[in-house]
Symmetry: C2
Subunit: 491 residues, 2 copies
């Protein structure tokens, strides 16, 4: 607890109170909750209404204090409660609401209240996982959560892992360990001269390219392997590509749940090819990994346990506030490439005395215990409870596909794999793009879009387990209505 | 707002309520606040009492459900309120409390209640900064916060930047942009064969080595430049090293605020040398950057604006909950190496229509708006208010140094630069190490340690603006007492 010096007045004490003062924190959460509600009322729907340039101008004005030079930081400040009321209300009004069933564009889940509440505790205590004496219990909790999720994946008890900021960091870690596996010592001594290749499907997530760029292979090193219309990699084509390459293969990256179709690569066959060529297999299961909670859907991920490393995002099918990524390796010893000794964090004699450290699990140093909200959610709902939420979303996607199939103005790309539905309105690419922007500008709906085979498609990413079939139908009706208006306007 | 389906019973509705339901969130924050208070009472001091192995065993048992295989996720779950009460209380009791003046080991600040409250709003709304339609106002807010902090650094209005997870990510981004500057196209086409060097002081933070390892140079590529006993890099030695190297220099990394001494490299002289050799200058101001808020201390950072890139951490001298790192570049165009087009996130026609995106600012994809808590804090306290907190902590460090100087049993390494004080108890390295562990195991105090010139030193990192000189004296008395006990035990 803070020992407030008595020589500061009450207003100052309130403004500079530390979160360790639970009463002060409670007093400041009240205006936050009021501002969240007021902001939602002001928004009045799933998204703010207006064109982005106008909105941007008004928002920037809201952040700018009267003193132009100092922008968001006017001289002496306006005090904690006033700043929270004003900025949180503005922020809520200007946000899209993932808890509104009409907000269904992205892998951008509405977080569970229980997870948000747990995350507030992590913020208030502010432990950092880079040393035991900044996070005693955090140092025990994260490995327990990692073990739980490794078990979910089907890994043995010798698995290892770490909580990450998401799929991008997990993919980077996967490629980093793969690089060290293929070129031992590269972390220490540098990447030897050579040309390297990473193999993935044609729809491998761009964060894999970014990771390859970062690690010195170059984004160009990510080589697309023939992929079907269903966005699944062809294992024979992978075998062929690995047999023919003149360059050094670093990794095969398979995807379990693409962002558009939710497509899951044929994992058992890909694992067999990777093993045959002795290449590291990383599976990007950022989206699809959540299906493991569902008894109905888990069989789609058969073969996942054969991967050398896996990334999961519980801020997708796990209903956590960002960030809640998890990176897992089948063997904890593979994390050795990340090992690190720092005399001010994990001196050897402290470690000998039992003061272990998670410093060597992550590329980050200061690190928030995102494991807490995951642990609380798992304890609150159990795997079965999360699985039920996954099933509800998958059922919504099935319903959406059926509804789309019944409407002549809409075209379904293909039946859903997980909880996304890709479709288009019967009109040009431009009409599809414009109708989506029109719905957004009207604050009426947030629908996704993507491009497949050179055409614009629309997408619903159904992550709200409390949405109903009627909500989905209303959303599709809004798409048809907006599309019809765009068609008429174009005449 | 969530539209709860009526066919689920009340308990289920409460357990799976979304944070968009403000009443449900409020109802679950109540047990969290109670559990934080109860956990703090159970702890009864700055740290949990006990040996780490015993503590670990008891904590792991707390996370393990009755069903051994399912660990933290017993079959059906125990419900949201129960899980929060139980795990948050356990977590609080097992954490060290950075808001306790006896907790003074690391750059591990006690967060302001106002910042924690603002962060809860970010969690509840759960925007993600990788596309406009997941974070409309977030897309406007982050650049405003970045501009505010760039102004603080003294950068022109053409500066750019991004909020990061902390100094490690900022250092990685700095070296990545430096690599692209020295070897244009490396991100896209791979790092050309060659031997590369990064120059920094002998106490450059290890995250720079890690970044060099990641980027393909190898950790060995970080070349230490002669550094004084005061841990400041010698600019003449840097000039010499850059003149003599046979390898390709990628960057000079200067430090503004080392973790131990808070040492600030001579920035104007280093900038001149870097300019002379046309090498990218990145300044790791993760710790020292906060001194910019203080009119008294800001002059120590003169020359910072000459850097090509800078990293600041507002979760250090900024009292934010983790994470609140900021990476800044003097020229926004240097961020081009991070540019990225993804058809499902920022298609060109959407951008033309004003739907801008921050996707190309970060290596992360899904990204929490950590800018919100920073904006709210700046608005609440102003730069001046934060500067006052910095000054209070610097005054505590001055007081600590004076007190240490008066005690024969303690030796001061040197007068403080920022808010850390490095000292040792008059005994062997082992005695110093043991006394620190003894204080920790007794739950009495959390004191830092480090190694300088092969000797163990103790460290206070004073980041609690509400701590008093008496608190500091009590902490030093506890060190002397524990040291005396260790000396006696060793006899």
């Amino acid at each position: 607890m803070a020992s407030n010096a008595s020589d500061h007045d009450t207003a100052d004490a309130r403004n500079t109170a530390l979160a360790g003062d639970v009463d002060a924190l409670a007093a400041l959460l009240t205006p936050v909750l009021e501002a969240l509600a007021a902001g939602a009322r002001a928004r009045g729907g799933p998204a703010p209404t207006g064109r982005p340039t106008e909105l941007d101008a008004s928002w920037r004005a809201a952040f700018t204090g009267p003193d132009d030079r100092s922008r968001s930081a006017p001289g002496a400040g306006i005090g904690a409660a006033a700043a929270l009321s004003e900025l949180v209300r503005t922020f809520a009004a200007g946000s899209v609401d993932p808890a509104d069933p009409r907000c269904a564009a992205h892998l951008h889940c509405p977080p569970l209240a229980v997870a948000v509440a747990a995350d507030a505790a992590a913020s208030a205590l502010n432990p950092s996982l880079d040393s035991w004496d900044q996070a005693p219990i955090g140092t025990s909790l994260e490995p327990a959560v990692v073990a739980e999720l490794a078990d979910l994946v089907g890994y043995p008890s010798t698995a290892g892992g770490v909580v990450t900021t998401g799929g991008s960091e997990s993919n980077l870690l996967g490629l980093l360990l793969a690089r060290e596996h293929a070129r031992p010592g590269a972390v220490r001594h540098g990447l030897p001269a050579g040309r390297y290749r990473v193999f993935g499907s044609e729809v491998t997530h761009f964060s894999v390219h970014r990771a390859a760029g970062l690690l010195g292979f170059g984004e160009d090193a990510v080589t697309p392997v023939r992929t079907g219309r269903d966005h699944r990699m062809d294992p024979d084509a992978l075998d062929d590509a690995l047999s023919r390459t003149e360059h050094t293969p670093i990794a095969v990256v398979a995807t379990a749940g693409t962002t558009d179709l939710g497509a899951i690569d044929p994992l058992p066959e890909i694992a067999e090819v990777a093993r045959k060529h002795q290449v590291w297999l990383h599976v990007d299961a950022a989206y699809g990994g959540g299906a493991l909670f569902s008894e109905n859907l888990a069989p789609k991920l058969a073969g996942l346990r054969a991967a050398d490393s896996v990334g999961l995002d519980l801020h997708k099918l796990g209903w956590q506030p960002v960030a809640a990524g998890v990176f897992l390796t089948r063997s904890a010893t593979d994390l050795a490439a990340l090992a690190r000794r720092a005399e001010y964090l994990n001196p050897a004699d402290d470690e000998d005395a039992g003061y272990t450290s998670l410093l060597g699990r992550s590329l980050r140093t200061t690190r928030r215990p995102d494991a807490l909200k995951i642990a609380v959610t798992l304890r609150a709902l159990g795997r079965a409870g999360l699985g039920e939420l996954v099933d509800r979303c998958a059922a919504l996607a099935e319903h959406a596909a059926t509804s789309i199939g019944r409407q002549p103005a809409l075209e379904l790309y293909q039946p859903p794999n997980l909880t996304t539905v890709v479709f288009r309105f019967d009109g040009s690419d431009e009409v599809n793009a414009r109708l989506r922007r029109a719905l957004l500008a009207a604050g009426a709906a947030v629908v996704g879009r993507t491009e497949i085979d050179g055409r614009v498609w629309l997408k619903l990413t159904l992550l709200n387990p409390h949405a109903t079939n009627a909500d989905v139908d209303a959303l599709l009706a809004a798409v048809v209505s907006a599309g019809t208006e765009e068609l008429e306007a174009a005449r």
